[in-house]
Point group: C2
Chain length 360, copies 2
């Protein structure tokens, strides 16, 4: 309680307890507490309380070469996909005394390199990377140096990193199965960027699912988006649907699906009357659109907590095994995909309200 102007240091505690700073350090650190007698330990921690001692993490970091800081690289915090993941990471990290530094790369390799280097200069203890793409030089560099890395949301075929992601193939299979159950057979796919594992896996899932249901997939039934953006969604929607013939679309993610809504309007197509669509990610507020978007949901927050857990494991037990973790997705059925027979009944058949959780 007795507070001077300058915060109490370990030396202060030591003199107050009548011991050497080293002893005070030992007494205060859980790992070394058993090196001092119980009596001394108690006297030290009493003194520490009394002085309101807070260890200086900077000095500790300098000595231990551990910053208890980890770097998180994401494409863009504004993408509603990421905030829940970040919260998951931060909450789990906090339990272990770590904090996160967030870096946005804006899908720009130069910027990613810059942020990565800056974080390394700040001596982060490890990285959670949500930006993995095939052939990324950052991944190569991270693999070469032996800084602990965990991949989140995306995986890498090229490097042996632990990762936490969604079973994307399974998710798309569920979406296709749902559409088939509704009577659709002519189903298109808007594939996300193929250099990210999400885009590639979902495309694989699409082909696999169509094969399972013995449905042919012709050229033109799959179009490739160059980015997960509304604009690309609209463009791909046009390209996919302008020829006619398709009755349903599985979009690479919600952004592309919502972009499609624009294309529907342009082409004079009614959703879900003329065309059904299913997204991926189950973004917040997606249940409030007209029509509310059916989407493949996955536990964003848990993706973050699991990634943090894996990373801490790796940091604290240097030679823990590499783990590849997949979380199961779940199809959330809303109003954007309806039975084929219903075509023509028109939009608006599905009520706006409470079509899902009341998140956010």
């Amino acid at each position: 309680m007795a507070h001077t102007d300058r915060p109490a240091t370990l030396r202060d505690v030591a003199t107050a307890a009548g011991v050497h700073p080293a002893t005070a350090s030992r007494a205060l650190n859980p790992g070394t507490r058993l090196l001092v007698s119980e009596e001394t330990a108690r006297r030290v921690s009493d003194a520490a309380d009394r002085l309101g001692y807070r260890p200086n993490p900077v000095a500790r970091s300098l000595r231990t070469r551990r910053s208890h800081t980890i770097g998180v690289l994401i494409p863009d915090l504004n993408n509603p996909l990421f905030p829940p993941m970040i919260r998951g990471i931060e909450d789990r990290l906090a339990e272990h005394g770590y904090v996160a530094l967030i870096g946005n790369t804006d899908v720009d390799l130069a910027k990613e390199r810059l942020v990565f280097d800056q974080m390394r200069a700040r001596h982060v203890d490890g990285f959670v990377l949500a930006t993995a793409i095939a052939g990324s030089p950052i991944l190569a560099e991270a693999a070469e140096s032996d800084v602990p890395v965990v991949l989140m949301n995306r995986t890498s075929q090229e490097y042996p990193f632990s990762s936490v992601s969604v079973d994307n193939e399974q998710g798309v299979r569920a979406a296709v199965a749902h559409l088939v159950a509704l009577g659709h057979t002519r189903i298109g796919h808007i594939a996300g960027p193929q250099d990210a594992s999400t885009g590639a896996a979902r495309l694989r899932g699409f082909h696999a699912a169509m094969a399972t249901h013995k449905l042919p997939v012709t050229d033109g039934q799959v179009v490739y988006a160059s980015a997960y953006s509304l604009e690309e969604g609209a463009r791909c929607g046009r390209d996919l649907l302008a020829p006619g013939g398709l009755t349903a679309v599985v979009a690479g993610n919600d952004m592309l699906a919502v972009g499609c809504y624009g294309a529907f309007d342009e082409l004079g197509l009614n959703c879900p009357g003329d065309i059904s669509v299913i997204g991926f990610n189950d973004m917040p507020f997606i249940d409030r659109l007209r029509p509310p978007l059916s989407s493949v949901r996955f536990p964003h927050y848990q993706l973050g907590t699991e990634a943090a857990t894996l990373l801490i494991e790796r940091i604290e037990a240097a030679e823990s095994p590499v783990k590849i973790l997949f979380l199961a997705p779940e199809l959330v059925v809303r109003g954007s995909a309806v039975p084929l027979a219903d075509a023509g009944e028109g939009a608006g058949a599905v009520p706006l309200r409470r079509a899902g959780r009341g998140r956010t």
Copy 2:
């Protein structure tokens, strides 16, 4: 280039350049470069480049007692209001060599205290607080200790902190004026929590605007939400509209406005046919709802950059004056508010697509 296993230290650079570490330090720091001869400075920085020297920020922090880290406290990162602000903060901070630590308080005072204390323990150089409420003990503590603080989005009457926020009164005035221009006279307000400056200022703006237009405001024409949530929006919408008589609502923010959409359905009211509504914040995707929500927009990103600028000013020039900065809002007209005469024409008259920026 010549890289050993351990990263180059200042001493390495010094010996490589044939000078004392202190000289190397002076040569490398912009502020002290003029203390050494040009020739020496060049020799040192050459050596630094050659060795790939990166100053150790931890050691520097220990010596200078500056962490070049700032703490940002927000209620919840999942609230789409905050990501753009955070990006603004981070981008501006990065220009000055600072990084941000994000802390979520979940509107829980105990948690806020915890996060605040942890950040202080980590010796952050300053805070951006987006969580200010009247009577907050954190504000008191921050004011007492002399850690630099800038308030963002909300202001405080009680303490002399610099702040960056929106001219909330002006925003609500614009909303009311718009409704009045559309012929509405019986306008209700769903007020946000009154312990936050946003809620209070918007309520003031509402009363002021109604007075300007010589419109009476009776009891029951204003209801108070206890939180900016969809649930509270729905509840307040019900309470406000069940008695009947009102033709338009100005909501304390978008979340409350969207919550209202639910109440409209329950009460069998058609929006915008029977009831017009205007929100505040212009959240992402709000333009994709049915009907697309008219809302008061403000520059979220700039709120962040300005807050960061103010904070850095305060950190680096200790006695810079306190600045209270207001950014101007702007009414974005979409489909949720229509002329009174149009009542009965029904919803859906407003096209879904491109009702605003194509943001994400």
